[in-house]
């Protein structure tokens, strides 16, 4: 607020109110601001976002050391992520070098995706703060959830970046200070793709990835672009994609959307495990589809009890309604 407005409001009050002893007038509130625990629409966008992020993160804990991370999602799947040793990442470097050949072709994408992946999703699905306001807010909150979880895991694993393995990779953008594994861009892009795909198509994540849906193709490209840029190993993207899909599956389950409640575990150990990723492997959608299908079968016996997430449910309902143009009105012809 400007100083002039501040002064103006004060002088106006002095000029208009007169003497007032503080007793209330004829209009006294008859109800609370919110009609229920899920009603946040009295508050500004920023505050709504804070409330939604709290609802998403409530009860979520991460237990991690340098070798293994476990994300406990109350009422949702348990996510496990194994971190390979540093020798594994050294063996991923030839792939990072190969992808560097695509840099000039992808420069515009890589540069703008440093801090904006949402515009690219907006290229496939109309996303703005008028027609898809709640969808946009939900997706931003999902990204915030991802960042908190992925940063905690990155911190525990503390995997050096490609530039730390060999400076000749000469990344085309600044290498972020945090660890490489798992990739935050992959986590966020696949989480956004999963939630958005559920809103648009009603598909589960497994269905969407298996169908190579365009939103998942986009998420894959965003993740791969970070390898092209020279700041991520393909394994970072694979782990991030699984983590993002896992977090999104939790969000969908809690919100009442399409979910399978899978128990996702990425491992670098057993090569017959569904989430196995070898040191010479490249990150592809068929790999992810395969991993997700295999993992979906393993229901988690240890899942903890759900906790109420009324804001998430309410936002999900409104976001879903923003896609009702895809549903035929009752009685209307096909």
């Amino acid at each position: 607020m400007s100083g002039a407005l501040l002064d103006g409001l004060e002088s106006a009050r002095d000029g208009l109110i007169g003497v007032w002893n503080g007793t209330v007038g004829p209009r006294v509130p008859q109800r609370r601001l919110a009609s229920g625990p899920g009603d946040i629409w009295y508050a500004s966008e920023t505050i709504r976002g804070d409330l939604l992020v709290y609802d998403l993160i409530a009860g979520v804990t991460v237990a991690a050391d340098t070798a293994k991370a476990e994300v406990n999602l109350p009422g949702g799947p348990r996510l496990g992520l194994g971190c390979p040793d540093l020798g594994f990442f050294a063996q991923q470097m030839p792939l990072v070098r190969s992808y560097a050949d695509l840099r000039l072709d992808r420069a515009a994408e890589i540069d703008t995706q440093i801090d904006d992946i949402m515009s690219y999703f907006g290229g496939f699905v109309f996303l703005n703060d008028t027609r898809r306001r709640q969808t946009a807010e939900l997706l931003h909150a999902v990204v915030d959830l991802c960042i908190m979880v992925e940063m905690r895991i990155k911190h525990a694993f503390a995997v050096p970046r490609p530039i730390d393995f060999d400076g000749r990779i000469h990344p085309m953008i600044d290498t972020p200070t945090h660890g490489a594994f798992p990739s935050g861009h992959a986590t966020e892009a696949f989480a956004v793709a999963s939630v958005l795909n559920a809103l648009v198509t009603g598909q589960t994540i497994q269905q969407g990835v298996a169908a190579h849906g365009e939103l998942f193709r986009l998420a894959h490209r965003i993740a791969t672009n970070r390898t092209v840029a020279g700041v991520h190993f393909p394994a970072d993207s694979a782990a991030g994609a699984l983590l993002g899909c896992g977090l999104a599956d939790f969000v969908l389950a809690q919100a009442g959307g399409p979910s399978t409640g899978a128990n996702l575990v990425l491992t670098a150990e057993a090569d017959d495990a569904p989430g196995y990723f070898g040191s010479a492997d490249d990150f592809t959608l068929p790999w992810l589809a395969n991993a997700l299908q295999g993992l979906a079968a393993e229901k988690d016996a240890k899942a903890s009890a759900p906790i109420a997430r009324p804001v998430l449910s309410a936002v999900w309902q409104r976001a879903s309604a923003e896609f009702d143009i895809y549903q035929a009105a009752p009685g209307a012809g096909v």
Binding site: D101, A211, H212
Partner: protein, 662 residues
């Protein structure tokens, strides 16, 4: 650092091997991560009658530099083409085959598929792909037939959407796991895809009367900035296409005279230095092959190549030496050139008995620091090293050899000067100083002698560690612009020109064979010859010893929309994407489409001597368009556009914007 000629000479490896010799000497193998000594054994190949092998890339010591994982390591005899029966049903006695040899081509693009999912690509050979054990019919790389392409596409189709990137990887067209694997198709556009679309792409509902056979050169070809192995790989590609076309005809069991499918070949590549009179190894071999098939009463083969894009690059010079006099030229080497620079000096053609057979031009060098190195005494068949004063590896080598042409019983003496890069990343590697290198040339004879000089191409296409920076001739008297400030793209006066630098003679040095149709480029809107489109020497220059050779473009085709809007429109890598690419490569590809069209009625006569699709027939199409008044402007100069312009036909299936010929 300064240099001096070695006091002793060494035998020259002989014409056709000098580039390979310097490639080894200069450590280009190592820079590209290829090992010469450590290469696995090459497959045994069928020897030809009279010695040698079909697979020129495997003639020692010109062994093609393919990485170990690309080589056929079966250690068995290379087998004849293995034709899968499933492809035969799509061929008829009327089929025309279009063979395209180029860089990476997006075989999975919808431009090369029909509505029903049938591939227009009959067969493809990716020379730089990892060899598949069991493929005994290729000496290196990987071949795929239509059936495998279609099955791969079916496997990677998700709800009607074809994952072309996954198909490219599955078919070996893209390989991210090998650092030196092919990956140009992971980019949004590629030269090969653009050329293939212009030559043979079609909308999904177009008929399948022309079937494509595609050979992708290994990316090492484009990584070597001077095209050292271009001829060897191209020849392997041509042989592979013709062998398979013949095997297909046989497997189909079609009746009739003159067996075989007619084949139109497109090779949109080039180099800038060479004899440029049809006598280079690749040119002679193509001529021999095409003429031999005619003599053997086999179906006709036609070859189309670009005239070249070097018209304004100052890579060509011609000097007339009067008795006892010398001429000076300046050769400028740019800084930060990480690859070898090559200069060729050609004596006039002589008969074997001629006095010129042993005459060697004397080449005195003035280094950028002013040091003058007197001409080394060199005989034909000798080479001499340029050594750093103070010791170290040779920084250059001057070869003197003689190119003998059997058919005309004549030859030419050539000097080839190879100079090390002007920059290197390896400590201790030989480099030379960038700047002006003075050349003083003299020939000890009592005649007037005309010397042709050309600088070899030195540029990088696509990805690669050896970034080439082209060198060029410099001369204050050479006019770059005309009086109005526009680019001057012709030399003008033939007699007593002011400068020794030439646009004449900038033709693609592998495209001057007599059976090859050479194609220049013109701008569709202005109807002018594209400034970069190379100029031929013109009939005046050529030796009477080679009466058949006409060294100029046969025709010009569309290379650009206008000066302000370069390129013509054709496919990008992925289905539905379009890009504009400019050059005589694109003009060439459109002409190959025309040649394939001209060959369509050939089956009616099956005449081995038919003129359908020969360079003269292509010229006739241009002459007819020029005389019908198709154009608002007179035909461009013959040196650049030959018989005239071919009418521009936009590709079917692309929507043209108003006033947009590209």
């Amino acid at each position: 650092m300064t240099f001096a000629w070695d006091t002793k000479t060494a035998p020259s490896p002989g014409f056709g091997l000098a580039y390979h010799d310097w490639w080894r000497e200069s450590g280009a193998w190592q820079r590209l991560g290829l090992s010469d000594a450590g290469a696995p054994p090459v497959p045994k190949v069928h020897p030809l009658e009279g010695g040698g092998s079909r697979w020129s890339g495997f003639d020692e010591p010109k062994k093609a530099p393919v990485p170990p994982h690309v080589r056929n390591t079966s250690n068995t005899l290379l087998s004849a083409p293995v034709v899968p029966k499933e492809v035969l049903a799509r061929l008829t006695p009327e089929t025309v085959i279009l063979g395209v040899i180029d860089g990476a081509m997006a075989l999975n693009n919808a431009r090369f598929r029909t509505q029903g999912g049938t591939s227009r690509i009959l067969w493809a050979w990716t020379m730089g792909a990892t060899w598949i054990p069991g493929q005994t019919s290729v000496p290196y790389g990987r071949e795929v037939w239509a059936g495998e392409i279609e099955r791969t596409q079916t496997e990677h189709t998700y709800g009607g959407w074809l994952d072309e990137a996954a198909c490219d990887q599955a078919l070996g067209l893209v390989d991210m796991h090998m650092w030196d694997g092919p990956r140009s198709l992971a980019l949004s556009a590629s030269h090969g895809t653009h050329v293939l679309d212009l030559a043979g792409g079609a909308p999904p509902d177009a008929p399948m009367d022309v079937m494509i056979m595609a050979v992708s050169l290994p990316e090492q070809i484009t990584r070597d900035t001077s095209g050292t192995f271009l001829q060897a790989f191209a020849l392997d590609g041509i042989h592979a296409i013709l062998d398979r076309a013949d095997a297909l005809w046989q497997a189909c069991g079609f009746e009739g005279e003159t067996p075989g499918f007619p084949v139109a070949l497109n090779f949109s590549y080039g180099i800038s230095a060479g004899p440029k009179d049809g006598t280079l190894e690749l040119e002679s071999e193509i001529d021999r092959l095409i003429q031999a098939r005619q003599a053997d009463a086999l179906a006709p083969v036609r070859m189309v190549m670009p005239a070249g894009n070097n018209n304004l690059d100052q890579t060509q010079a011609q000097i007339t030496l009067k008795q006892g006099e010398s001429e000076d030229l300046t050769w400028r080497l740019p800084p930060q050139d990480f690859s070898t620079s090559y200069l060729e000096v050609w004596m006039p053609r002589f008969l074997d008995s001629d006095a010129l057979a042993t005459k060697v031009p004397q080449l005195e060098l003035t280094l950028p620091d002013g040091t003058v190195l007197g001409a080394p005494s060199l005989n034909v068949g000798q080479s001499v090293d340029l050594l750093p004063v103070g010791g170290g590896a040779p920084a250059g080598r001057l070869y003197c050899d003689r190119q003998n042409h059997a058919t005309s019983k004549s030859g030419r003496v050539r000097l080839l000067l190879a100079l090390s890069p002007t920059a290197s990343r390896s400590p201790g590697a030989a480099t030379v100083s960038p700047g002006a290198w003075g050349l003083r040339l003299q020939v000890d004879t009592d005649m007037h002698v005309i010397l042709d000089l050309s600088i070899q191409r030195d540029d990088t296409i696509g990805v690669g560690p050896d970034r080439g920076v082209p060198s060029f001739f410099e001369d204050d008297a050479y006019r770059v612009h005309d009086a109005r400030g526009d680019l001057l793209d012709t030399d003008g006066e033939l007699v007593a020109p002011a400068s020794n630098l030439r646009r004449r003679g900038t033709m693609n040095a592998i495209a001057t064979g007599v059976t090859t149709c050479r194609v220049g480029a013109y701008e569709v809107q202005s109807e002018r010859s594209a400034p970069y489109s190379a100029s031929g020497f013109g009939e005046m220059h050529l030796s009477p010893l080679l009466p058949q050779v006409v060294e100029r473009p046969n025709v010009a085709a569309a290379g650009d929309t206008s000066r302000a809007k370069p390129g013509v429109m054709a496919a990008g890598t992925r289905s539905g994407s379009v890009v504009f690419q400019s050059g005589t490569s694109m003009a060439c590809a459109q002409t190959a489409r025309l040649v394939a069209d001209l060959l369509k009625p050939w089956h009616k006569t099956r005449d081995p001597l038919s003129n359908l699709g020969v360079p003269g027939a292509v010229e006739h199409v241009a002459i007819s368009a020029e005389s019908r008044g198709v154009y608002a402007t007179p035909a461009p100069i013959v040196e650049k556009a030959g018989a005239g312009r071919l009418p521009y036909k936009p590709l079917q299936g692309y929507r043209q914007r108003s006033g947009d010929p590209g």
